[in-house]
């Protein structure tokens, strides 16, 4: 079979597009987008943010008096040195209590957050239920952990149980949202397929959605434990047990050297957890990525 005859005259260069030798029309210019066609959520929100930054300069005004900022920093930091490590025994004990509060609160939160997460996943639940669940979770998240701890103290008095109650509520707000996002990210077709071959609702969720969501759910739980450990160190300020009680006490009596010791312990714990959590979550995500998630 011979190639199709070219429409160009012999003197002209050959057709520009080798894909279509039959109609060597000149390539049209690159179609350009109008300025408003280039706008998308990303650029618009970036512009809004830039405007917000400019509009927020009053926050930098300070008291308006000429204070010796640098001197203040030096003086205040000076209180902390040298840290008084004589209190390491109490600190360790309080650290243990903090960890117990965080772990317990996370455990309760998981149990409560899984049904809430299912109720809040658009792919799994009817619209009204999703609305209710998401509203509840948003409401819970609006209240800071310190306030939840205060509520806990009001219910059971100033002890670690108050911390557990407070942090449980707070974690449910986050975990519930994360879980519903995790469930929503799962391709629901697989579960539908299982339903089509006779599986019940619970079975379709358990075998069709859960295996897919499990690594994600677990990495959120690890993050939550980390987060709760940090929170648990603070909520003691309102009497809910743990390191915060110590912090509040030392602050009350201006024992900044001991305060510094507690801070160092918290720093050590959080760093350790951060590294550990990072490693575990890295392993989980690597397994997710290796299998070429669709």
């Amino acid at each position: 079979m011979s190639p199709p005859p070219s429409a160009t005259s012999p003197g002209q260069p050959p057709a520009p597009s080798p894909l279509d030798a039959r109609s060597p029309a000149p390539t049209p210019p690159v179609p350009e987008l109008r300025w408003h066609q280039r706008l998308n959520v990303m650029t618009v929100s970036l512009i809004v943010f830039a405007i917000a930054v400019v509009a927020s300069t009053p926050a930098l005004r300070g008291s308006g008096r000429q204070l010796d900022y640098v001197g203040n920093v030096q003086r205040f930091l000076g209180y902390f040195f040298p840290p008084d490590f004589s209190v390491w025994r109490e600190t360790l004990r309080a650290l243990g209590e903090t960890a117990q509060i965080a772990v317990m609160a996370t455990a309760f939160a998981i149990v409560i957050a899984i049904p809430l997460g299912i109720a809040g996943a658009r792919t799994l639940s009817p619209g009204w239920m999703v609305g209710c669940a998401r509203m509840t979770l948003n409401g819970i998240r609006t209240v800071p952990s310190l306030i939840w701890a205060l509520i806990g103290v009001a219910i059971v008095g100033a002890n670690p149980l108050a911390g557990v109650i407070g942090l449980t509520f707070y974690s449910v707000g986050y975990l519930g949202k994360f879980f519903s996002d995790a469930f929503e990210s799962v391709d629901i077709e697989v579960a539908r397929g299982l339903r089509a071959i006779g599986a019940g609702r619970i079975q379709a969720f358990h075998h069709g959605v859960w295996p897919h969501a499990k690594p994600l759910v677990w990495s959120y739980v690890l993050w939550m434990i980390e987060y709760n450990l940090r929170s648990a160190a603070i909520i003691g300020y309102v009497g809910a047990g743990g390191l915060g009680v110590q912090l509040a006490g030392y602050q009350e009596y201006y024992e900044w050297e001991k305060f510094a010791t507690v801070l160092i312990f918290i720093l050590g714990l959080v760093t350790l957890l951060d590294l550990l959590g990072e490693w575990v979550r890295g392993r989980i995500t690597r397994k997710l990525n290796r299998r070429g998630r669709v």
């Binding site: 077709e189 697989v190 539908r192 397929g193 299982l194 339903r195 089509a196 071959i197 006779g198 599986a199 019940g200 619970i202 079975q203 379709a204 358990h206 075998h207 069709g208 295996p211 897919h212 499990k214 690594p215 299998r291 070429g292 998630r293 669709v294």
Partner: protein
């Protein structure tokens, strides 16, 4: 447009059986519209137990949609599908799911469960949810493994399905349907990723399910030679958009 007259929808092998008790499925006036096109319309068929029905036609003609209607996954625009239980009752597809073994075109396996668990999932409909919550019964695991092994996947039983190849996943989806042991198989191009040997093997198994176990097989096939070799009935759809269809008995077999 008047549809072609319904053909006698009984393969030669079913002729001896009693007419009513042997009927598995009837479709009455079934029609499905997509936009202004009718994929099929006024489809009246009666399919007996033990028939191997090949569904043929060019791409996009509505073969998968037809199977989805039979599986109760897609609401037809008009008409009804009903399955006939052995005790004579007629039930809609959504109440017949436990007896409907679907091999989906995209397999729809659980990506991060093992092949063995994926096959075991075929029998979820038989188990109460709490029974399958902490693992499947041992005898079901044994049966599932036997099927996997039979299809040459024994050594991959504990591999996640997302870590296996397309053909292995397709065989797992087939194994899941076989493990379910349903009354009707709805297989959407079950051999599209398989080589000639496995194609013959899989269709041979379906053929046997139909002939020996009296289960009905609906199978979307593209290869005319395979249709001639395995099918009792051939249901073909017309791509014109007028919803025409044609059912013939395969005398070549």
């Amino acid at each position: 447009m008047p549809p072609p007259p319904a053909q006698p929808a009984r393969p030669p092998r079913a002729a001896a059986a009693q007419a009513d008790a042997s009927t598995l499925l009837t479709a009455r006036g079934l029609g499905l519209r997509r936009g202004d096109r009718w994929l099929f319309r006024e489809l009246d068929i009666t399919v007996p137990r033990g028939a191997f029905v090949a569904v043929v036609g060019p791409s996009g003609v509505g073969k998968s949609s037809f199977l989805a209607c039979l599986a109760g996954l897609l609401e037809p625009t008009e008409g009804t599908v009903s399955f006939h239980t052995p005790d004579g009752a007629a039930v809609p597809p959504c109440d017949y799911r436990r007896q409907t073994g679907v091999v989906f075109q995209n397999n729809l396996l659980v990506p991060n469960s093992s092949l063995l668990v994926n096959v075991c999932c075929g029998r979820l409909g038989e188990l109460p949810w709490w029974r399958s919550f902490f693992g499947f019964p041992q005898e079901q695991r044994t049966a599932a493994y036997a099927i996997l092994h039979d299809l040459g996947l024994g050594h991959l039983a504990h591999r996640w399905s997302c870590e296996t190849s397309g053909g292995e996943q397709q065989r797992t989806a087939i194994a899941r349907a076989l493990h379910q042991a349903p009354d009707v198989y709805l297989a959407d191009e079950p051999v599209s990723n398989l080589d000639a040997y496995l194609t013959g093997r899989v269709l041979g198994i379906f053929r046997q399910e139909a002939s020996v176990r009296r289960r009905t097989v609906f199978c979307v096939l593209h290869n005319a030679e395979l249709v001639e070799r395995f099918a009792d009935l051939v249901l073909s759809f017309d791509p014109s958009g007028s919803g025409q269809w044609h059912l013939r008995t395969n005398h070549a077999r």
